[in-house]
Symmetry: C2
Subunit: 228 residues, 2 copies
């Protein structure tokens, strides 16, 4: 009830954005502006992931890049479109890395382990990605549906696979959704954790991440392994 005005606005914008395109120069991937477009995405990822969507102003973003705000709005229809593009690219990176793992030949547990390691590797290489994920997974975030549509198929595939494994008895019977959710929130928790450490004045070491990963793997093993 507090944010009635805001909500109405959100709905209207969502509809409009679906009709239009997110990226103005859709299709064109070469040309002089391609580099600018990437630079904008990089800066936006950093800003959205740290100070958040609402906390980011297009003017500040542009100033940091040494360009005018209007240049940003030339490449991306509006602020929301920019967020969409950032989410798409990031989710795309993650999806690509995961699909690569899925191509490999591996037994079930090896595959699970490989997936977890991949996610953590990507998260370590691109720590900003975790911040973005955290921001976007917030209730009412303008990009929540977008993230879902990008990552959704992959998650559905994972759940279908788990269901199959359970039917053949190679995997212990549990709720796939719950397991995936736990895994997900563990990874996102990492983002929080790293930031809290930093706020406490400690530079996060690899130790934090390793501990977390081991913990997650142990959880998955005891959840899935039919032997235990």
């Amino acid at each position: 009830m507090v944010e009635t005005t805001r909500l109405r606005e959100t709905v209207r914008e969502t509809v409009r954005d679906t009709v239009r395109e997110t990226v103005r120069s859709a299709g064109r991937t070469t040309g002089r502006g391609a580099e600018t477009r990437e630079r904008i995405l990089d800066a936006a990822l950093e800003s959205f992931g740290t100070i958040g969507y609402d906390g980011t102003s297009l003017d500040d973003l542009a100033a940091g890049l040494g360009i005018r705000k209007q240049t940003i709005l030339y490449h991306y229809v509006n602020k929301r479109g920019l967020l969409g593009a950032v989410v798409d690219r990031s989710a795309g990176d993650l999806t690509a890395a995961l699909l690569e793992v899925l191509e490999e030949e591996a037994t079930d547990w090896q595959r699970v382990e490989a997936l977890v390691r991949t996610v953590f590797r990507v998260a370590l290489e691109q720590p900003l990605l975790l911040g973005l994920l955290r921001e976007v997974s917030r209730p009412g975030s303008p990009a929540a549906p977008r993230l879902r549509s990008t990552m959704g198929p992959l998650l559905d595939r994972a759940m279908a696979w788990m269901n199959r494994e359970m039917e053949t008895g190679r995997m212990r019977r549990t709720d796939p959704q719950l397991v995936l959710l736990s895994a997900y929130s563990t990874v996102v928790g990492l983002a929080t954790e790293i930031e809290v450490l930093r706020a406490a004045g400690l530079e996060p070491t690899a130790r934090t991440v390793v501990t977390r990963r081991r913990e997650l793997l142990r959880f998955l093993r005891t959840s899935l392994d039919p032997q235990r």
Copy 2:
């Protein structure tokens, strides 16, 4: 570099707020305005915890309460002061609940378990608290230092206790900070988790929470129990 202006502003405001008081009507806890003040806090907690600090406008907040924005600003010096008050009250509730547990007679492991259960119980009773925690623990949040100063002593006490237990050998030797951090991010992860579930169209059941709690307890046991 992107948010130079914003950062400078933040620092200035922090200094000013430390000098002034957060609540205008400090000391007075009775009177007609007391109820209004509480209602404002309730609404602010909900808004800050869901759509975030930056996403919350004082006008919307007031409109939701059927009052004018200026009434809010009469009770709390400014927006930041309001956030401070919300954080203080929430952290106070949690601290009180934890201190109560600490008063009880209990062996070491029982006490740890009781603390964990208390935190989860409070989180379940006041789900908004988790959202707030999530918002406030964001890097550069205006209230991060405030949270630290409210909860800090309790955390220091916990760490001191753990160190003592380790010296007497009743607790396995590990890094107390890391253990507390893990516990913390597990709880905050709950907030994320619940919201993601809701976004996926599922009403979160107690099951999610129970799973998470069991997981955390197992982690703590294997981290701390000298027998294992």
